[in-house]
Symmetry: C2
Subunit: 198 residues, 2 copies
């Protein structure tokens, strides 16, 4: 027993977080000991509150503290465009951009046969329900540009195609500020393929 | 407002920890949302418990959940040797080694005129009291081998010297497994200076 028990437990808790090994966990735990007691109580409370108060919006699947979420229930947003993303963090990234005025649908994952994740394991069925109930004109598939993301976009596009809703996929190409010299072949090929008239 | 409020608060709490920026904090906060509720409650409890139950040992200054700490109150340990360290983490490092059977004294810092930390700001006065009350034969100065650590060791040695207690400083030299080629000049000079007969 190197550490007193309360600190061992705290180190164990920190170690469970992603990217935090035993050394970092010990450093964080010792930092907590030096923090003001009120700050520690706030930290503990915010952990419990975040876990207890946040749920997934039954409409779009985004994390929220009210159901439906603030985006789904916002009358100023354009319900005719739905942007399909993998993860709540992707919604945040899109919202930071401030350019998109439509609504979202969060899949909570991608189809990945290698990991045994099929279409029934992600939030697709509620998307299909939404397309029936809501007046949707365009579905933007914004899953990540990797094998799983492409497969998921392909799956959804095949499923939705017959309904006649416009299906779009976000553009692949060179990131702004990127360098042609350092771009990988696939990205470069996508950038060429997606070239536009000036 | 990109995130629902409970998660914003949690991200803020994580951001207060050392070495955790806004992006990592967001990643950790989202991870917490996916954790089991019991694990989150345990985490919150361990935070509060660590802060509330741990104090500094009034004898040696080490962090502890009982006073005096388990090392100070252990009759099997040799009270005639006291190892002076900067930080509770240094006690842990020494204890992991399993070679030292004496007791400790934790300074909680080093003298650093640049940062306005004088001898009265670190835990030295209780050390002087201990040397009067306890039967101490040797004081091992194990502050870090940098400017502040050396200055602190020097200060304590001058203070204690008149009492006739044996004063020692941990050895400086090449770390085991180290490489002469990559050692800096000061370390190499210390290693040469501290050479021993075979």
């Amino acid at each position: 027993m190197y550490y007193p028990e309360p600190i061992t437990k705290l180190i164990d808790s920190f170690t469970k977080l992603p990217g935090i090994g035993p050394k970092t966990a010990a450093r964080l735990a010792f930092f907590v000991l030096e923090m003001e007691e009120d700050d520690v109580l706030d930290f503990a409370k915010s952990l419990v509150n975040a876990k207890r108060e946040l749920t997934h919006c039954t409409t779009c699947g985004h994390i929220t503290d009210q159901d439906p979420c603030s985006i789904c229930s916002d009358p100023s947003r354009d319900g005719s465009v739905i942007c399909v993303v993998q993860d709540p963090k992707d919604v945040i990234a899109m919202e930071k951009m401030k350019d998109f005025q439509g609504k979202y649908h969060v899949l909570h994952g991608t189809i990945s046969p290698m990991e045994g994740i099929g279409p029934e394991d992600i939030n697709v069925s509620t998307l299909i329900e939404r397309l029936k109930d809501e007046q949707v004109e365009e579905l933007i598939l914004a899953t990540n540009p990797n094998v799983e993301g492409e497969a998921t976009a392909m799956y959804i596009s095949r499923l939705v195609k017959p309904s006649g809703i416009r299906l779009t996929r976000i553009a692949h190409g060179l990131p702004v500020g990127g360098d042609l010299e350092y771009a990988d072949e696939v990205t470069l090929s996508k950038a060429l393929e997606g070239r536009r008239d000036l």
